[in-house]
């Protein structure tokens, strides 16, 4: 659902100086400070960040304490949550909590890698298309449109079905390579509007090379926008990976939240009423991705003064 937030929405970077003469007349603190000031006072940003941070810490810090494999048969079978097994156990006596925290790890990893790769491709395509224009733009636009209408998940199912070696890295790579188009489009539009500004003209006249202008002049001026795009891609990658894992196309020997749901459904957890098996993984994903989205709304308000008031 990640493209949803972007098209047509008020765009950061255009909002700079939106209040007429505000910054000058009001004697504002420096821009950086101001961003921090509003960031620390934005409930959406803070709430989202706290949830993500807690889950991230759980993912990073807890597994070492648990020791052993999260798939090991360590306890009694099909037990509801207890003091010993916080999230209960599976049909086979696996510790659901251990699977959950390990699953969080792969969820964050897929988000980071998949979202990162998508952001990278989207940025390269968007910058080049927007800055170069002409035939390059036409061709890149065509490619973007094609990948955009191809249903990414379905392509990934086909690819994963034939893939023997399905690691989390390969999964992330494929997700990244199929989910960049809307980002490329959005970045292209931003680049187009920046490319006509004075400071870019100045850089061009002074004979700077295209990639230098893109990375020194254009990218920094839309850094907040890029960051928000990355967050959306991050969340999108997590959802796609969860879907693939749920179909059974995830890493065969791994642990992930999607795989947990897959096992729960395959082994009749629903019919057996073992809610502790399927509730935590979905809740974990929803919490992470939802918090990221809400954080993004907060970030938008922080970076975009027009959205702040009222």
């Amino acid at each position: 659902m990640s493209a949803q937030q972007v098209p047509g929405g008020p765009v950061p970077g255009e909002g700079v100086g939106a209040g007429p003469g505000e910054a000058a007349a009001v004697g504002a603190p420096r821009r950086g400070n101001e961003t921090v000031y509003f960031a620390l006072r934005n409930p959406k940003l803070l709430a989202g960040a706290v949830v993500v941070a807690v889950l991230l810490v759980a993912a990073l810090a807890v597994p070492p304490f648990l020791g052993g494999s999260p798939n090991a048969y360590v306890g009694p079978q099909a037990q509801p949550p207890s003091a010993e097994f916080w999230f209960g156990t599976t049909n086979f006596g696996q510790d659901v909590f251990a699977q959950f925290v390990h699953g969080l790890r792969s969820t964050f990893l897929v988000g980071l890698l998949g979202g990162g790769i998508a952001a990278l491709v989207g940025m390269v395509v968007g910058f080049v298309a927007g800055y170069r224009g002409g035939l390059v733009d036409e061709v890149l636009n065509m490619i973007t449109n094609i990948v955009l209408v191809l249903p990414a998940m379905v392509v990934l199912i086909i690819a994963a079905a034939y893939l023997e070696a399905r690691g989390i890295l390969v999964q992330s790579l494929f997700i990244g390579l199929t989910s960049w188009p809307w980002a490329a489009r959005a970045i292209r539009a931003q680049t187009l509007s920046l490319a006509t500004r004075d400071f870019v003209d100045l850089a061009r006249l002074s004979g700077r090379r295209a990639h230098a202008i893109i990375f020194r002049e254009i990218a920094p001026n839309m850094s907040s926008y890029l960051f928000m795009t990355f967050i959306l891609l991050f969340g999108g990658a997590i959802l796609i990976a969860a879907g693939l894992d749920f179909i059974g196309l995830g890493p065969p020997q791994g642990v992930s939240l999607g795989l947990m749901m897959h096992s729960a459904v395959s082994w009749s957890a629903l019919q057996l009423g073992m809610w502790w098996w399927f509730v935590p993984p979905g809740l974990g994903i929803t919490a992470i991705v939802g918090s990221l989205y809400i954080m993004n709304v907060g970030l938008d308000e922080v970076f975009n003064p027009r959205l702040r008031e009222t």
Binding site: E22, A25, V26, E309
Partner: protein, 319 residues
Amino acid sequence: MSGVSLEVSDLTVHYRTLRGDVHALEGVGFTMADGEIMGLVGESGSGKSTLGKSLIRMDSRMRHVRGTVRLDGEELPIGDQAAMTPFRYHRVSLIPQYSMSALNPTRRIGRMIDELLESRGVRPASVRAELLRRLDLVGLSGQVLRRYPIELSGGMKQRVVMVLSTLLDPSLLIADEVTSALDVSTQRAVAQTLVEFRDRGYLAGMIFVSHDISLVNQIADTIMVMYAGKPVEKGTAEAVVNGPRHPYTRMLISSLPEVGVTHAERRLEGIPGSPPGLLDPPRGCRFRERCPLAFDKCDQEPPFVEVDRGHWAACWKAG
């Protein structure tokens, strides 16, 4: 020119911001006679738009702190959105700065006008003939009513808005920087059209906001100069341009190479220094920091007083 039609006194309006109130208008008081076209000038941020908006529709961040506005002897409930509605369009109207984008892009212009009129309790058919006559006056055929805004040029859209805004013959029209986006010859044509509207009785009085003194001088009866949220001088255009009393006005005028030749935009910003912040405005005369004539007394606020017949200024040295 007869009788007083607009009377503003002690008008104080703030913008609420997270960092506190911006004192955008502070104790503004002036009057306008019936049929008067008042040019409102001052550098960017001096409160011209805020004054204009206060007279018709305050946005959600504006707060009416105190002061009154009387139009034709009747008090305008400017701080009360609902109570103000009956006055809008019928009595006070607006030609916005953004005329080019003021029309709903997905409605045919005629239909949009009809829907607006109906919502304001006017039967579209009853003003149809007048609408066509006025469109004709500004050089547009009735065909434009069947068009979408995108099918019109910028100038055409502006003329549609001018006609639409004045269709109900308001007592007061606020024209906020309507010419700023135009080239010099079009600017003059638009300004002349507005004067003609006044002469034909389509509007009783007008506040013509601009930062271009020379353009204002061509069409306005009177000129009011604002600085940092306060009027500093008001008088007939003749008197203000030829015999300015306030040091700020003088600097504005003298920085014009020859009044009426070039527009003064850049010159206005060319006075050294910058206006004070309005979040916590300084006591005393707000121009003090940049004033070459400033002296001890200027740390008290100079009142806006009549220094000559029909000529007001707020400066200790103007009297």
